[in-house]
């Protein structure tokens, strides 16, 4: 699989339910970031978690990082119709390389 690959590719839930998306990567990283993209728009940064952190919260978002498994998860609690978007993880290699690697994304649909 490619670096920063999200799973599932698509997710459909009812409003009020929780949504969980996963990201796997291959190399050692400096940090991992999650972004959101509404249809036809640019990406918006949601949260950054560093390689020495295991969990981070921001409002209804909870991100975990397991560097031993090279994986991260994004949990959106009490989802709303407005959360409908594509969610991408981006990894930054720990060699201070110059490139963020984005996965193909998870398309989340929250049904009212």
């Amino acid at each position: 699989s490619q670096q920063g690959e999200e799973d599932p590719q698509a997710l459909s839930i009812q409003e009020g339910e929780n949504a969980t998306m996963n990201c796997s990567y291959k190399t050692s990283i400096n940090n991992l970031q999650w972004y959101r993209q509404n249809s036809g728009r640019g990406l918006v940064h949601l949260i950054l978690i560093r390689s020495n952190e295991r969990e981070k919260h921001s409002g209804r978002l909870r991100v975990t990082l397991d560097t031993s498994k090279k994986s991260s998860s994004l949990l959106i609690t009490a989802s709303r119709a407005a959360d409908t978007a594509s969610y991408f993880c981006a990894t930054a290699e720990d060699n201070y390389g110059q490139n963020f690697v984005f996965g193909p994304g998870t398309r989340l649909s929250v049904l009212p």
Partner: protein, 115 residues
């Protein structure tokens, strides 16, 4: 400006023509990235500028693609002799710090359609 600005927002061109896409990053941001996003796909890295350093061009798909950044600010992505497979949304992002240490701020993208 307040955010990353890209122009044009939409560009339709004929196969074989050259196109220029412009990105105006957030003032003071030293790092600037170009990505390409095909319909329903993830982001493909194209090129990265960091301050006055030589750009990382490792993601450019062919020698028809080039980019420059003048005065450490505005960047132009040029595609020569466009092909239909160049059709995509071209996203620009800037970051206060380089070297992958901070968040990226994206523009709304330039949608290129090659007929």
């Amino acid at each position: 400006g307040a955010g990353v600005s890209q122009s044009p927002s939409n560009k339709v061109t004929e196969k074989g023509k050259d196109v220029e896409l412009r990105c105006d990053p957030i003032s003071g941001h030293t790092a600037l990235y170009w990505y390409r996003q095909s319909l329903g796909q993830g982001l493909e890295f194209l090129i990265y500028f960091q301050g006055n350093s030589a750009p990382d061009k490792s993601g450019l798909p062919s020698d028809r693609f080039s980019a420059e950044r003048t005065g450490g600010s505005v960047s132009t992505l040029t595609i020569q002799r466009t092909q239909q497979e160049d059709s995509a949304v071209y996203l620009c992002a800037s970051s206060l710090w380089g070297h992958n240490t901070g968040e990226l701020f994206f523009g709304e993208g330039s949608r290129l359609t090659v007929l």
